[in-house]
């Protein structure tokens, strides 16, 4: 059975249609990424699945529950990292974990979870003394303390420096090895590529593409060939670079010319992604 199933989901805030009819399935044990720029509808979608918001239309099932009207077990089985949330500033890391552990019927060991999220050295530090990255790890720790089957991570690394981001990635990968289903939102392409088994790219409330990160970026891409001729730059775009290049070089050789500043490049993943989420219709 899939952990999450979404069909025709819609949500508006006044005149703003934040989510305009999206469909996707997430299998148990899968790490699924919702990727898109700010305002694409990622957080609205996740907060509907978490049970914070009511949908306007569509069918949604999360762990066999309708999150709008969940059974008593639902919140025992989900773990949540919100995009913005803080915790009691004057409690210690350990006290905070213990407070949350008490809300669940079958919590994990507090010390184990603190170890898992790499806060063992900060066990007795007050929350207000933690750095931004450490606070985010605390958020992850309390999301895991109830031993959930499904974990929601809403932009878990936004604002991190590169080292903190790598550390967070390691932790999220360890969730997969624990067998958790993970729904992750991000606006970083590399993060989705590094962590997710499958990715849905959202733009203006719609899914523009869905698939593995590899599928996403290996679609019929046009390769760019550039060179200079009589001081003028020439740019060719083609899906058959071998043939085009062969013809070009054959002609040049026949004329005894050099193709000045010849360059052949595939667009980067970043460019593919930007093309997908840009204002123009994707190619």
């Amino acid at each position: 059975m899939s952990a999450i199933s979404v069909r025709g989901l819609r949500k508006s805030y006044g005149a703003l249609e934040a989510v305009q009819g999206i469909d996707f399935e997430i299998e148990e044990g899968e790490v699924f990424g919702l990727l898109g720029p700010n305002g694409a509808g990622k957080t609205t979608t996740v907060e509907i699945l978490e049970g914070y918001r009511r949908r306007d239309a569509g069918d949604v099932t999360v762990l066999g529950n309708d999150p709008q009207d969940p059974g008593p077990e639902f919140r025992q089985r989900i773990g949540v990292v919100l995009q913005h949330s803080e915790l009691w500033p004057n409690l210690t890391v350990r006290e905070t974990h213990r407070a949350f552990a008490g809300y669940y019927e079958r919590p994990r060991s507090v010390d184990e979870v603190i170890e898992l999220v790499g806060l063992a050295a900060k066990r007795d530090a007050r929350v207000k003394t933690l750095s931004g990255g450490q606070k985010r790890r605390l958020d992850l720790g309390i999301a895991l303390i109830g031993d959930p089957d499904l974990v929601f991570l809403d932009e878990p690394t936004t604002g991190f420096d590169p080292a903190a981001r790598r550390a967070a990635w390691e932790m999220i990968r360890s969730l997969r090895s624990l067998g958790k289903t993970v729904l992750l939102t991000t606006h970083y392409l590399d993060e989705a590529e590094q962590l997710a088994d499958r990715v849905a790219v959202l733009r203006e409330g719609r899914i523009v593409t869905i698939g593995t990160p590899r599928e996403l970026t290996s679609a019929d891409l046009e390769v760019e060939i550039r060179y200079r001729r009589n001081g003028e730059e020439v740019l060719l775009r083609t899906t058959e670079p071998t043939r085009v290049l062969h013809e070009l070089t054959a002609e040049a050789l026949a004329r005894g010319e050099e193709l000045e500043r010849l360059e052949v490049r595939r667009p980067s993943l970043e460019e593919v992604y930007l093309a997908l989420v840009s204002e123009d219709e994707p190619a």
């Binding site: 957080t43 978490e50 049970g51 914070y52 008593p72 919140r75 025992q76 989900i78 949540v80 919100l82 913005h84 949330s85 803080e86 915790l87 009691w88 500033p89 004057n90 409690l91 006290e95 407070a99 949350f100 008490g102 809300y103 669940y104 019927e105 309390i142 109830g146």
Partner: protein
């Protein structure tokens, strides 16, 4: 029930860990009692001044703890996203609210006991005679001011402004209703304002029960005014209370 006890312990831990809360909510009324008790001598309303002040500061303590303290606490927790985060756990909203009110009541009861102990030691004020009525009065007062505290929290937009807003209400109310000493020499219009405020009626009940050894039910009018304020607070809270921070 297990969740309620667990959350009550969490909330008390969070309360005592915050130095600002422990000082302004718990200690401040006690310090005022020490201060005013050493300033006022003789008699107020025909009873020793220290006893009248004790009753007034019990009233101030109630409004300070259940109205001001609770309102600030809730706004801060809402704006930090703590309330929103808790909604994703198995802790239900009714259990959370019950534990919050029980934690507030606990702090106020400990403070009241401390007031009587200080009164007995320093000013030889007697312990309450109509004990059952006083306990009931304390619970009613805490309930009414908690309802107003949750209502205030629902109307206050930002954590930064919350302390200023509630103290702008609390301190004038305490002065006008006789928490800090008798109001009979105040200008008539100030007394008229005091006459509509809930704290006046709570102090009136405490005075009757503690100073004049009357039973709680002899103060039907004052109880009715408190009930009206409590109902208003509940209505505003039910309509306007939010769990999520103002910005999404």
């Amino acid at each position: 029930m297990r969740l309620f006890v667990h959350e009550l312990r969490n909330q008390l831990l969070v309360f005592w860990r915050s130095k600002e809360a422990a000082f302004f909510v718990f200690l401040f009324p006690l310090l005022l009692f020490l201060l005013l008790g050493s300033v006022y001598g003789g008699k107020i309303y025909g009873v020793p001044a220290s006893e009248a002040l004790l009753a007034g500061l019990l009233g101030y303590g109630c409004a300070n703890t259940a109205f001001a303290g609770l309102a600030i606490q809730l706004v801060v927790r809402r704006e930090l996203g703590i309330l929103k985060r808790l909604r994703a756990t198995p802790l239900s909203a009714p259990t959370y609210i019950a534990a919050t009110l029980a934690s507030t009541l606990t702090v106020f009861v400990v403070q009241t006991i401390a007031l009587f102990v200080i009164g007995a030691i320093l000013y030889s004020a007697p312990f309450p005679h109509a004990f059952g009525s006083l306990v009931l009065a304390i619970v009613i007062g805490a309930a009414v001011f908690s309802a107003l505290g949750v209502a205030a929290a629902s109307l206050i937009r930002s954590a930064e402004g919350s302390s200023a807003v509630v103290n702008f209400i609390l301190l004038p109310m305490a002065f006008l209703t006789g928490s800090f000493g008798p109001t009979r020499h105040y200008p008539a219009f100030l007394r008229a304002i005091g006459d509509v405020l809930p704290l006046k009626y709570f102090i009136e009940i405490v005075n009757a029960v503690y100073l004049h050894r009357q039973a709680l039910w002899t103060k039907g009018g004052a109880l009715a005014v408190l009930a009206a304020w409590g109902a208003t607070g509940l209505a505003v809270a039910a309509l306007r209370f939010r769990w999520e921070p103002r910005e999404g």
